[in-house]
Amino acid sequence: MLQIDAWKRVLIWAVCLAGLFFAFPNGFYSKVEQHNDAVAEIEALGSTPERVEEAASWPDYLPATLVNLGLDLRGGAHLLAEVQVEDVYADRMDGYWIGVRDALIAVREQVGFVERIPDAPNGELHVRISEAEGMPAALAAVRAIAQPVVSVTSIGALDIDVSGQGDRMIVTLSDDEKRATDSRTIQQSLEIIRRRVDEVGTREPTIQRQGVDRILIQVPGIGSAEELKALIGTTARLTFHPVISDRATSGTQTGPGEILVRDLEDKDQFFLLETTAILSGEDLVDAQPGFDQNGRPSVSFRFNPSGARIFGQFTSENVGALFATVLDDEVITAPQIREPITGGSGQITGNFTVESSTQLAVLLRAGALPAEMTFLEERTIGPELGQDSIDAGRIACLIAFGAVLVFMVLSYGLFGLFANIALVLNVGLLFGVLSVIGATLTLPGIAGIVLTIGMAVDANVLVFERIREELKTAKGPSRAIELGYERALSAIFDANVTTFITAVILFALGSGPVKGFAVTLGIGIITSVFTAIYVTRLMIVMWFERKRPRTIEV
């Protein structure tokens, strides 16, 4: 007979209420958004009366979950950039030349004179030795300076491949090292772009890697893609300063030639620094994650010759003092100088993990974009167009909603009303889920919702039609309802699984707006099946228990 356990009833209603609870802030979009922005600002930048007031526009005890609006709805700029990862190989080979030369000079008796061949292909180091018979010794000497690749996937691989042809020795990066280098190049570019974009303080920019060597950048609210390109192209400013005090606060007075700089990690810590930098990012040629003598993660860096001279002089005169590495007016690190660093390269040790040392190396190198970027795709959507689309979508949704509601009541009477309540809950649940998972609503996504509204009644229609049929064979209303649900289930199941498959494929292969559509369609299928099978049924059962009708009309 028609029975649903009490705990199931509670659970079903609880799910519906939770969905509505998380969905309803979307009804007050601009207010909640203002609140969320203000809260984020207070957290990041400290509290001001205006921010507190803005935060108070939406009470804290209410949920503040919102559906993100895609670029096509909010307006903004979208760029797809390809990073020219090969650019980096040439620089790397230049860096190796000194080491290779020194290694060969050490075996001068066997190899004779050593000379770099200038017109080598990009990313290859070609070296001529005057004694071709000495090639085996030369190869051995150069191979001995190869370093293990620092990456998670290639353990034991070396960073360079060395081969000889007659009197010519060819040094290239190994495939593993190229992969690791590419990966670092992209990471670095992402990091720089993220910093650049954050600087303009726009809301929720999307900056993500796509495929092997591409970066997708979406910035809502920015005027045009050209502006965004100009912003990303700007070089980062990296400087090294002597530290006057590492115990400053935001209120510390600065004297002449002094500057107050906030710490990158701990926003409450400030450093008092000398305004004049000792060195800048332009003097840095490389920074790599590595390990110190004790095997702990560290970051090694290298200056160019003039930088090395200045740095050597400074560190010899200031042993025991602190020097700060400042990026974009924030202190990345301020280590103590333990000993004079004269070789032009140094190592920063500290409380690092492999990740954090890699991160810091990325930051240290973040002075300039590591490689050039070409832009493959750019889109600018004006905010007016987005607003027009939202308005049109909203009207269409309401009309569609109204039409379907009327149609269902006309067709199925009371049962149609149940289906309609379920439909309202369905849309509520859909928005609730979208808000909680932070999905992005796009214009095709709105179409997905409208389509869901149309299709959501399908499961109910299947059940109601089946109940009608079962009523014809006169088994009594309770049995007919039970059979109706039971027998319609396989059709509902198969029909929705197949539709869900297409949503998954769309999600996997689509991008941008299409992905947004796939998300609303997929979630819409799940919520509509839930509301049709559980919610409508529960309503019918509850109604049936109260009224105990002898006959029913569907």
Partner: protein, 325 residues
């Protein structure tokens, strides 16, 4: 009094004109393929690269003026069209300008776009550019590939799923119907020269999803009736199944079309192409569920010794059929 789209009992013979309907379906698929090949599709920049600029002005659009401004820059093929929409206000005069991908450029050249915008602004300083989109030829080639993979993957996944849940004949019938829907939709896009872009591919996949939904519901009833009426000729069982589910088919198509028409008329011109594709697909999909999928299954025949519904593991095709009982 209830609204009934069809009488409570129907007894249409859906297979009476099956040669005609099947012939019409095949003919329209062939016609669509020919149109696709010889007339071609109006590909958007997603698929062939280039730039589209959407302008909005208070003054009426003078296409000739715009054209002379842009053509003076010598950018090759430029198309300019005015956009009309019932949702626009009186002071909204919208045009779309499309510029082909520039020869020998793999990426998007920002200065070219800048020149075009400046040239247009010179005619009408109040002109606003509500959207500017550029896709380089490198990406557009990849997007085509991804789109084809997406549609093929969807068809393959459905083929396998239906095969597991039903029988291979059903699976072939369902995919034939989907193939029909996709091709005929491409055909109408070719005839009407509606812009074919990434959103259209999303629409095609939605059509696939909707159409299979419809097909599966009828298949499900057919599976049930085949168990019930073991000796009735296949054609009659099919007719009975289609008639029994007719009311549901029309109800669901009806509500979906109600929603889609609202969006088609009021949803604005930006997604009109997308919504049109889905609306068309729902109509074609409803037709193909009855006339293509069933006809193919009828032509292929099915095995008739279906096990009882309560009996688990009765043959390869039904082994998953009872998990939802």
């Amino acid at each position: 009094m209830r609204l009934r789209l069809v009488p409570a009992e129907t007894n249409f013979d859906f297979f009476r004109y099956r040669k005609i309907t099947m012939g019409a379906s095949i003919a329209s698929v062939i016609a669509s393929i020919l149109l696709w090949l010889f007339v071609g599709l109006n590909f958007g920049i997603d698929f062939r690269g280039g730039t589209t600029i959407r302008t909005e002005a208070a003054q009426p659009v003078d296409v000739a003026d715009y054209r002379s401004a842009v053509e003076s820059l010598d950018l090759g093929d430029v198309s300019i069209s005015e956009v009309f929409d019932p949702t626009f206000g009186d002071d909204q005069n919208v045009s779309m300008i499309r510029i082909q991908a520039q020869e020998g450029q793999e990426s998007v050249a920002g200065d070219v776009i800048g020149q075009v915008l400046a040239a247009l602004q010179a005619i009408d300083p109040s002109l606003k550019f509500t959207s500017v989109e550029s896709v380089g030829p490198k990406v557009s080639g990849e997007l085509i590939k991804t789109a084809i993979i997406a549609v093929a993957a969807a068809l393959a996944a459905i083929l396998i799923y239906i095969w597991l849940r039903f029988e291979w004949q059903f699976s072939v019938g369902a995919v034939a119907a989907l193939f029909h829907d996709v091709i005929v939709t491409i055909g109408i896009f070719s005839v009407l020269q509606i812009r074919f872009d990434l959103a259209t591919i999303a629409a095609l996949l939605t059509i696939v999803g909707y159409s299979i939904n419809d097909t599966v519901v009828i298949f499900d009833r057919l599976r049930e009736n085949l168990r019930k009426f073991k000796t009735t000729p296949l054609k009659d069982v099919m007719n009975k199944s289609v008639n029994e589910t007719l009311s549901r088919t029309l109800m669901t198509s009806g509500t979906t079309l109600l929603a889609l028409f609202a969006l088609l008329i009021l949803g604005g011109d930006v997604i009109r192409g997308f919504v049109f594709a889905i609306t068309w697909g729902v109509i074609v999909g409803t037709y193909s569920s009855v006339y293509v999928a069933k006809n193919v299954v009828l032509a292929l025949g099915v095995k008739r010794d279906w096990s009882k519904p309560t009996d688990g593991g009765g043959g390869a095709g039904t082994q998953f059929a009872n998990i939802d009982a």
